[in-house]
Amino acid sequence: TVGAVACDRHGNLAAATSTGGMTGKAPGRVGDTPVIGAGTLADDICAVSGTGHGEVFIRYGAAAEIAARMRHLGESLDAAADHVVHRVLAPNDGSGGLVAVDRHGNVALPFNSEGMYRGHVRSGEAPVTAIY
């Protein structure tokens, strides 16, 4: 899976996620990538793109859960994303991670498994790429 989230200079958010899946997956199997609210979501609070064990991301509505925690609990992007990846997905065999951004341009990149590839950039800062 690959994905991107962005906050533009107007404070508008967007998310995009594309094609992944387990090697040797069953033909016709669809993971969380195209499921809005699971692997991909953008609203006026945050934008989220996930990568990982898709079935678990779907069952727990991972991306929507982050937005809901921010909207209703007032959590920061970091806190909400961290909670979902480490305390919702991980205990339920939901290995993987996500990238997320909020309307203030804050970025969160949590993951709970190896083999992760990340990059981020903010206006006025140098771009960062990383492999774990």
Binding site: R9, G24, P34, A42, D43, G54, S95, Y117
Partner: protein, 175 residues
Amino acid sequence: MSQTFALAIHGGAGTIRRSALTPEIEQATHAGLARALEAGSLILRDGGSSLDAVTAAVCALEDEPLFNAGCGAVFTSAGRQEMDAAVMNGADRRAGAVAGLFGPRNPIRAARAVMEASPHVMMIGEAAARIAREAGLPFEEASYFFTQNRWDALEETLALRARGETSSDAAVRHG
């Protein structure tokens, strides 16, 4: 129009095995990620939309064989590649998604075509491919999406299953 812009990307999970992560592959992976960041941030820097930025960034990632989307997509157990993608615009909650189709060079553009050229959110299979064709998107043959690394991973996975084993390698557990 003075707010901070931000862009974050991911190249998936487990698409490159640790044992195969040579300095050359590591350098190529960083370069691939940097190209995607540049594609998206160029748009944001000029005041463009987050929607255009994520589309451009994901296209760059899809074009990169090191990551398992589009070019280098994972194989199903039947030895075929199926593509999924979704895009969502937070300002108005427009969304487009495609699943279970094959052929568009950039599946994310097919998802965006569903969002912009249809009243629907998700389309699957041949109907999704038709919307992509009608939007004038380029399609590719199977050879374009083939990478030896993904094929080797499939053969290894099928061999493990035949022996009743599972792999702890993230590369064969999820994308």
